[in-house]
């Protein structure tokens, strides 16, 4: 048996020893221990170093609110997690753990010099210290901040675990399986409601686990608990342990994270590590209890100083005495019971020091009966001991004066500053709070959700009150769900309700300026820091919080909020509700990224849309790029080719003979109906009435603000049917926009819209030999200049397949786009590929497509436009129907700013030195002007791998259309490049190559 283990106490199984390591040293604990309880059983209090000052720290609490005892846990390769609370991590044989924030060792830490350099790190030190001199930034401040920032060390290996997620619907979700939650569960379950009861601990019971002395309905607390859990299961209650309610979202959706494997010595096959539950519950009962507050005094962070209620938990739940000679320091009755329990378990309690003058006589006589010295009206002013507390300095306080000090030798200080209701999830619901002067704390008031809060989380202390309130609230939610709801009463004996007072920092006779009286243990914020923040002008608690970082650590101020508020409001001379409380936000406790990501990782992160021809491209060694959710072949390198070489070859081959391109990803929308042409007239800038069936046209889509949104070739298949194409990424957006106008503005129009993107495979042939290659396969139309001129479309048969054939060109060469039913895409491709061999057919990807279109000055919406470009800016005024009464964007184009002279306009650029410009590079007129220069535009597209003699670029330049031939400058880090403004068409401006 370990040194501090008490036989006959606790719920751990000492007959089943468990061996684990902490900082490389092997320790023995018992089945059911946490790392913290097992270390304490071995007399180890020192578990970590603090974040800012690297002060030695031990566990101060016994649960998930623990701010100090953060450890790294390891289970073989890839399974390392930092910042795990030692008070939560259960031990198993072989578990490896280590302490954090220490160098070189936990007992001797160089960073503790920060502690001596205290002045440097006081409130607002981030804002003050790292200001000056400027030259210190790169070499001194930034490396220092980077080294000091954050807790623990991030894992670097890929996480081999899996994470799951599920949905759950129920009538009543109860958060917290203490007496309140148990009673609420029974009240709802007996009414036949579907009840889910969750608790973050490995077992249900809450306070009952720490208070075995209580008797409920004549049974010892633990016997009652065991029987009650069985009874609830029999009633159909789903009880989930190791399950934290991390967040309360809208309309009673609660996020739960269930930990499934972190406590197991062997990982079961096919079991996720954690499971995120999205619960939608008709009613929610919050029964999360209350959290104990520390007292704020100099040295209150020394290992061995801990919360009295937690010491009681370590004893009663884990069978561990946290000290053999503890001293109690309290402002609340509850710590007296901790004293009694420890004394009865064999500890020698040195004294009960209470800040209050007036304490329940019954408690005092119980203390006397046990021979424990009682000191009322006392303050604590210091602790001593290097890595573990060895004495507590106390002073009497009379009439506001602190008297002579006295040292009490001890090996633990068990403190209690009273209790704070756990209002985190209630706050997530946007529930309002009200200040309670008696309890010196905020209590829940109203919430917009279908939610009740019960027990200690609304300020009711004691098991009896918890059971009664839980039963009442359970009955109330059952009633809200249409049940009658029966009254249930519980008979309680040996209950320990109590009262207390809440303090700011305790009075002292020592220099307050030198006091390290911690408020926020995880962020190392002291009472002095808070007062300094107020002195320096912070008035709102939100400002005080950010200036001092109080409550901003991973524990979100579970222990520090009210103490911080008490001190800040004292410093401001205002009442607490006037100073206010900061907002709690999800998650309740730190949550793994894995739990949030769930299944959405690796290939499941996002869907990958593939065309029918995708596997051919893959077999040909294509390099792919994502476009929207599509993966598109970017280029097809031959052995030894890099991208530039491959693209240069693809471009040249297409201009010389014929290239084949998979254009299936183009968005396609079928616009059909008697009013289809009128709809197109209103939607697109172009006039459509006179477009004959069998002809197509380049269409430009604007927003009502007059800016370009999308473009594409649109074919009129028949009088009442348009085949609209959109950009690859814009299809869904365009359809949504069309639906919006059709449904809500022009409900007079008789039109149907259908997304046909995935109904068609589209194979594009481009090049001087395109018609020659395709013609033998086409039935129903002659591919001659006369019968099927440029910008024609027809329904026909291609290689025996039903097809929509378009004669269009995005390259400046003779071009066709053959649409066949999607599943026939590869078949068509194979036939054309085979027949194309005589012409040296070349497959090209999106990169070549981009280069060839840029050489012809065809824009790519989103690359050459940015949401502020009009058709006129883009040099496409010809696409705007001037005689139409209206179209989307027409009125917008008439806005004065869009008519302004010096708008940025799309032009071509040719560099004087023949170098390639960088896309996105800024343009200036005068390269000699002072920095910051006046920027007049930017490069939108730039290529040096095409078929032109020199690199080409497209750019938006202020007043560019009126500056043909003028020189602009592109300043780069190493030099300034001069470029001449040109037209946007670099190849075949007369379009002679389009002719068959």
């Amino acid at each position: 048996m370990s040194q501090y283990r008490v036989s006959g106490r606790g719920r751990v199984d000492t007959a089943r020893p468990v061996t684990f390591t902490f900082d490389g040293k092997s320790y023995r604990g018992a089945q059911g221990d946490t790392v913290a309880s097992a270390l304490l059983a071995n007399g180890v209090h020192l578990m970590g170093r603090s974040f800012k000052y690297h002060r030695p720290r031990g566990a101060i609490a016994a649960g998930s609110e623990e701010p100090n005892a953060l450890i790294g846990t390891r289970r073989g390769s890839g399974r390392f997690e930092p910042n795990t609370r030692a008070t939560v991590q259960e031990i198993w044989d072989g578990l490896e753990t280590n302490s954090q924030n220490k160098f070189p060792s936990l007992k001797f830490d160089v960073g503790a010099v920060n502690d001596a350099a205290y002045m440097l790190f006081s409130a607002g030190f981030y804002y003050k210290t790292f200001m000056w001199p400027r030259s210190f930034w790169d070499k001194v401040y930034e490396p220092f901040i980077r080294a000091a920032a954050g807790l623990g060390v991030s894992p670097i290996e890929e996480d081999p675990d899996t994470y799951a997620s599920r949905n759950l619907h129920c009538d009543v979700l109860i958060v917290g399986a203490g007496p309140t939650g148990l009673a609420a569960a029974r009240a709802a379950a007996v009414e036949g409601l579907r009840v889910v009861l969750v608790d973050e601990n490995p077992e249900a019971g809450g306070t009952l686990l720490s208070e075995p002395q209580a008797r409920i309905d004549g049974k010892a607390a633990w016997d009652w608990l065991a029987a009650e859990l069985e009874a609830l299961k029999a009633l159909g209650v789903k009880i989930m342990t190791r399950t934290t309610a991390i967040a309360y979202y809208h309309q009673n959706m609660i996020g739960l994270v269930e930990k499934l494997t972190d406590h197991l010595p062997k990982l079961p096959a096919d079991t996720p590590r954690e499971r995120l539950w999205r619960v939608r519950s008709k009613q929610v009962v919050l029964a999360q209890g209350a959290l104990e507050k520390p007292l704020v005094f100099h040295g209150n962070d020394r290992p061995g100083v801990m919360l009295a209620g937690s010491a009681q938990t370590f004893l009663n739940r884990y069978g561990v005495l946290v000290g053999k000679r503890p001293v109690i320091l309290t402002s609340h009755d509850s710590a007296w019971y901790a004293a009694f329990d420890l004394q009865d378990a064999g500890a020698k309690v040195q004294a009960i020091v209470d800040t209050r003058a007036d304490v329940d006589a019954l408690l005092q006589s119980e203390a006397r009966a046990r021979g424990i010295a009682v000191k009322l009206s006392h303050t604590a002013t210091a602790t001593s001991g290097r890595l573990r507390v060895s004495s507590l300095r106390i002073n009497p306080v009379a009439g506001g004066t602190v008297g002579a000090a006295q040292d009490i030798r001890c090996d633990a200080v068990l403190m209690s500053g009273g209790w704070t209701p756990s209002l985190h999830l209630f706050s997530h619901t946007k529930g309002s709070l009200t200040w309670d002067d008696d309890r010196t704390t905020f209590l829940p008031e109203k919430t917009p959700e279908d939610c009740v809060i019960a027990g200690a989380s609304r300020g009711l202390w004691g098991i009896g009150a918890a059971l009664a309130d839980g039963a009442e609230k359970g009955r109330a939610v059952a009633e809200a769900l249409g049940k009658t709801g029966a009254q249930v009463a519980y008979a309680i004996e040996a209950d320990r309700p109590g009262t207390g007072v809440s303090h700011k920092e305790l009075p002292t006779d020592l220099s307050a300026g030198k006091a390290k009286a911690f408020v926020d243990f995880q962020n190392d914020v002291t009472a002095k820091d808070l007062r300094l923040a107020v002195r320096e002008g912070m008035r709102s608690i939100e400002h005080v919080k950010r200036y001092t970082t109080n409550g901003m650590a991973t524990d979100q101020g579970k222990m520090s909020n009210i103490n911080g508020l008490n001190i800040a409001s004292d410093a401001l001379g205002k009442k607490q509700p006037q100073v206010g409380l900061t907002t709690f936000r999800p998650p309740y406790t730190p949550t793994s990224f894995g739990a949030f990501a769930g299944y959405h990782r690796g290939e499941h992160f996002e869907v990958t849309r593939k065309t029918n021809i995708d596997s051919w491209a893959e077999a040909k060694g294509a390099v792919f790029e994502p476009v929207g959710q599509w993966r598109r072949a970017r280029y097809f390198p031959k052995p030894g080719e890099d991208m530039d070489t491959a693209v240069r070859r693809e471009c040249a081959a297409t201009r010389a003979s014929v290239g084949i391109f998979d254009a299936s990803t183009l968005g396609k929308i079928e616009v059909v109906g008697p009013d289809a042409v009128e709809f197109m007239n209103r939607m697109y800038t172009n006039p459509w009435t006179k477009l004959a069936p069998g002809r197509c046209r380049y269409g430009l889509l604007l927003g009502d603000d007059g800016y370009i949104r999308d473009d594409g070739v649109i074919g009129r298949m028949t009088e009442d049917r348009f085949h609209v194409t959109t950009t690859t990424g814009g299809a869904a957006r365009v359809l949504n926009m069309m639906e919006d106008y059709l449904q809500t503005e022009w409900s007079d129009l008789n039109v149907w819209l259908t997304s046909t993107t995935e109904h068609w495979s589209t194979v594009a042939l481009n090049g001087p030999n395109a018609a020659k290659l395709l013609a033998p396969f086409v039935e129903g139309v002659e591919l001659t200049e006369e019968a099927f001129p440029h910008m024609s479309c027809v329904e026909c048969t291609v290689a025996g397949m039903p097809a929509r054939l378009f004669r269009v060109s995005f390259t400046g060469e003779i071009g066709f786009e053959v649409n066949v039913p999607a599943h026939l895409g590869q078949k068509l491709w194979d036939i054309l590929w085979e027949a194309g061999q005589q012409y040296g057919i070349t497959a090209y990807g999106t990169e070549t497509m981009h280069v060839l279109r840029a050489e012809k000055g065809y824009i790519i919406v989103g690359q050459d436009t940015d949401g502020t470009v009009t058709p006129y800016d883009a040099g496409m005024g010809w696409a705007v129907g001037k005689k139409k009464p209206d179209f989307v964007g027409m009125r917008g184009l008439a806005r004065p700013d869009l008519q302004a002279k010096n708008r940025k306009q799309l032009v071509g650029l040719l560099t004087e030195d023949g170098s390639k410009l960088e896309e996105g590079a800024q343009i200036v007129f005068d390269p000699k002007q002072a920095i910051p220069m006046t920027m007049v535009g930017h490069v939108t597209s730039s290529y040096d791998v095409g078929t032109t003699d020199q690199p080409i670029a497209l750019a938006l330049v202020e007043g560019g259309h009126g500056k043909m031939g003028e020189t602009v400058y592109i300043p780069m880090p190493d030099r300034t490049i001069a470029a001449k403004i040109t037209a946007t068409v670099f190849v075949d401006p007369e379009n002679t190559r389009l002719k068959i």
Partner: protein, 100 residues
Amino acid sequence: MLLIHCPYCNETLPEVEFAYASEAHIARPTRPSETTDEDWAEFLFMRSNVKGPLYERWRHVHGCGRFFNAVRDTVTDKFLTTYKAGEPRPDLSSLTEGLK
């Protein structure tokens, strides 16, 4: 995640099926070319940005595809009602009466 009632499907469904579509009851002028710059700017840019009940549009994009209107309280994020496009604005006072 919000639950939203589609007045066309007549079902209350998770938010992921829907897409927000800006403020409701802002009709596009029937003859835009005859509007003044001021009126056009009012239509194009100005939104009420209320703190409280807001008339807004949603689209059941992964369901029936219809645009519909809703009244949602921007403070509590609660939907007070949803109704079909083209129906008149519901009276606010009748909607807010029964609220907690």
